[in-house]
Structures are given as C-alpha cells and as structure tokens.
C-alpha cells in the first residue's frame, strides 16, 4: 500500500466516522459540528486528489457559509438547544433492513470494479487547474452558458428566500 493510499484510508475513516456521529449524536449543535468535521474530511480528500481549488472552495463555501447557516437554523428553531427527543421511532427495523440491502447491493456491484486498487493518475507538471477551469468557464465552446445560468440560479435562490421570509413578515 502506498503512502497515498494509507493517508486516503485514514481520511476516509475520519470522514465516515464523523458522518456516523452526525446522525447518531443526541445534541443538535453537536450534530452540526460533526457535520463540519465531515465536510472538512471531504475537503482533505479533494486535496489528496490535487484539486486544490475545490478543497479551499469546500472549506470556504460549505464550512464557512452552509455550516454556519445550519447552526443558525438550529438555533432559530430550537427553543431549548439541549433537546433530547427519542432517536428512533417504531419502524427502525425497516430502515435498517433497507440500509443493509442497499449496502449488500453496492458491494455486489463493485466487486468486479478494478478501481479499488488504483491510485489517482499523476497530473502533468505545469498543469494549472485553476487557469484551465477559468478557460473552460469562459470559452463559448466550454461552459459559458452554464456559467451564466448558474448566476440566474443563484438569483432564483435569493428571490425564493426573500419570498418565503417576506410572507412571514
């Protein structure tokens, strides 16, 4: 096992462990904090894959904006932030059964895949990912239309949020 694979396994275990804690912890704010460590783990995976731009964007947008939004939402809607309701309801065994079936199906499907023992291909030196991304975002043969549509999508999200909040005022 190469060093890169060991590092990846450690980070993946950390991310999965944090994800598990998100859904099992009783305190909502703790769940939000575990979510932050999960998102950080994903950022580290991006860094391992040499996608530096995506790694910092993950931290800036997900941890710096979305996680803070989650925490604000939890604080907005919970009267007592130490709420500890019951964790499961009566039909928990149905959920467990479906989860086990899906997991078994995925394992069965991935058995023939050879990507599990491959390492990421080396990026040619001198390849500036951000500059290439900039090129693609702007060239008419590239992604310029999705680029502009993304801005419209963001404004649509903004208008939707304003509409929802405005009605309540």
């Amino acid at each position: 096992m190469t060093g890169e694979q060991i590092i990846f396994l450690a980070v993946a275990l950390f991310t999965l462990g944090s994800g598990f804690m998100v859904v099992t912890t009783r305190n909502l704010i703790h769940a939000a904090l575990w979510l932050i460590s999960t998102l950080f783990g994903v950022a580290v995976v991006f860094a391992i894959l040499n996608a530096g731009f995506l790694a910092v964007v993950q931290v800036v947008v997900y941890i710096g904006a979305i996680a803070i939004l989650f925490i604000f939402a939890v604080m907005l809607t919970r009267k007592d932030m130490r709420d500890q309701g019951p964790q499961t309801n009566q039909n928990w065994w149905v959920g467990a059964l479906i989860a086990v079936l899906v997991f078994g199906g995925l394992v069965f499907l991935l058995q023939g895949w050879n990507g599990l023992s491959k390492t990421a291909a080396d990026i040619p030196s001198g390849f500036d990912a951000v500059a290439e991304l900039g090129n693609e975002l702007v060239s008419p043969a590239g992604y310029v239309l999705p680029f502009e549509v993304a801005s419209v999508l963001l404004v649509a999200a903004l208008v939707g949020a304003v509409y929802v909040a405005f009605n309540r005022k």
Partner: protein, 117 residues
C-alpha cells in the same frame, strides 16, 4: 500533493501550540472549584431568566444572502485568473454574471430584507 502535506503539518503544529499552552495552564493552575465560581456571569448579579435568547430571524437572512454572494464570488475566481489572457469577450461575460447578481441584491434590498429591525 506534497504541498498539502505541508499545509497538514501547519494544521497539526498550529493545533499543538494552543493545546500545549492550555494544557500547561491546566497543569499549573490551582484546582479549587466551588459552585459560585461556576455560576454564569451577568454583570455581578444573579442571572435572570433562562440563558436562551430569542434568536432574531434577521441573522439567518443575512447568512443566506452571504451564502449566495459567497458562491458567486467563488465562481469569479477562475474567471479572474484567466482574465489577463482572454479578450473583451470574457470580460463582458463576467460583467453579465456580476450584473445578474447585483440585480438580485437590489431586489433583496428593495424588498426590505436587508433591514435589521
């Protein structure tokens, strides 16, 4: 990837220093705790009411607007990196992108979502 290993080293050492300092303080400090020391501070008087504050919804609105503009600005970074080498066409595309989002900001402003009260 070696770059990111060094960043990881910075994270680790950057975490060790404050952990070490606080641990040293914990070791060196006296440990005479009593109930009065553990009470919540409220300008020297006993606390009145629960320590739960009515959370203003306005905080959430500001965080939401920030999220939208954060994603927008992050989109603009690859555009800015390549701007020196591309022509006027790229500049116009970027300006259209920014103008659409400024229109969104003006809409939010006019609807009164950016007021604190």
């Amino acid at each position: 990837m070696s770059q990111w290993i060094y960043i990881g080293l910075f994270f680790i050492v950057g975490l060790i220093i404050p952990v070490g300092a606080i641990t040293v303080a914990w070791i060196l400090g006296p440990k005479k705790s009593n109930p009065i020391k553990k009470t919540t501070y409220e300008c020297g008087i006993e606390t009145v009411g629960e320590s739960w504050v009515q959370f203003k919804a306005q905080y959430y609105i500001f965080a939401l607007v920030f999220l939208i503009f954060d994603v927008e600005t992050v989109f603009l970074f690859p555009w800015a990196v390549k701007l020196g080498q591309l022509g006027l066409f790229a500049v116009v595309e970027g300006i259209i992108f920014i103008l659409i989002l400024i229109a969104g900001l003006v809409y939010t402003w006019r609807k009164g979502m950016l007021e604190w009260a």
